[in-house]
Amino acid sequence: MSVHEQFAEDLALYALGSLEGEERTSLEKHLATCASCRRELEMLRGDTSLLAMTTVGAKPPARSKQRLMAAIANEPRMPVAAKAAKTSRSFWRGVAWAAAAIAILLWFSSESMNTELRRQIAELKVRVLLQEKDLQHAREIVATLVDPDAMKVELVAAGSKPQPHGKAIYQMHNRSLIFFASNLPPLPPEKIYELWLFPANGGAPIAAGMFKPDAKGGAMVIPPLPAGIEAKNFAVTMEPESGSHEAPRGTMVMVGAGE
């Protein structure tokens, strides 16, 4: 490379920004007229950029990007300085061409994409309709089950007297328990019925809700329960209305084991 030897070392210092004073002025004067030294300066700057890559810089503070974007948002739309206008004109022309090219590409790809999207929307609409139907059906069932005004009739063997009767429907994975009772004897004063879940693992019984039957001895309990408890038995006891309900202490009224 035909770098002027007398400037070779100064060029390296200049690239690092450490050349000052007279040496700097005379080198700049030379650079203005010497293309090969300018080229060498560009190369030396490239060499310094390699040093930057040998290290991992500090991560900028999280807010710095936010601050930068805010500062940019506050900038006037068009640069005002004459020089800036000159340099940015070609930039904006480039942007315009790029935008046009992108628009054309997008138009082509959007045609096929539209068809695909339309197909997907139609498919989703059908799915939503089916689900709405299922949901409506499920709602009706639940509404009937929990409606206090719904007619409830207990059928027993012909000729026999209706007995106290309970039915627990339990889904352990959903933590979902629905309990219906009928023909319960009326409660003495200050007493209450309590439903219990006896876990299959032999753990302590879990209180599953207190209730008082209606005038005909009917009741329904939908208690909150912990997840994943396998049940062995369900039972209803009669407990004092006030006091501890951590374990069944009162008389057993009904009991039933899972199938």
């Binding site: 210092l13 690239a15 690092l16 300018r38 040998t54 940015s88």
Partner: protein, 128 residues
């Protein structure tokens, strides 16, 4: 410094000429020089539009960058210790050659030569 550089680039998008080099390298040079200017509390010495950086070969991809980084680190490790020290003081600490000479007790000319030879040897590992 970070914000100032990006703001300048935003205001003068033509300042960086993609046909003349790699943007990462260009930003590295500008940012490093501006940081040193800021530390020395002096006015920025060069207009970003006048800073042209040339790196060959161009290394745009991450894989290229990792490979180059490894090579450059190897070159630094292979340098004579005083040369490497001079280069690092000049580049990372932003010391002038006069300050380095004072610190190490070496003649000014020696420091200058070390810095230049160090930079050139980095270029050589890339060319190899």
């Amino acid at each position: 410094v970070l914000q100032e550089i990006f703001m300048q680039l935003w205001r003068h998008p033509g300042a960086f000429d993609a046909s003349r080099g790699n943007m990462g390298a260009w930003l590295a040079v500008i940012a490093r020089n501006r940081a040193i200017d800021a530390l020395r509390r002096r006015k920025p010495e060069d207009d970003i539009e006048d800073v042209v950086v040339s790196v060959e070969p161009d290394f745009a991809s991450v894989a290229d960058r990792a490979r180059v980084m490894e090579k450059v680190r190897g070159a630094l490790d292979g340098m004579p210790a005083p040369q490497r020290a001079a280069l690092e003081m000049a580049y990372f600490e932003g010391l002038t050659h006069a300050e380095i000479a004072e610190k190490t007790g070496e003649p000014l000319g020696t420091v200058k030569t070390r810095i230049r030879t160090g930079l050139l040897s980095l270029r050589k590992v890339l060319a190899a």
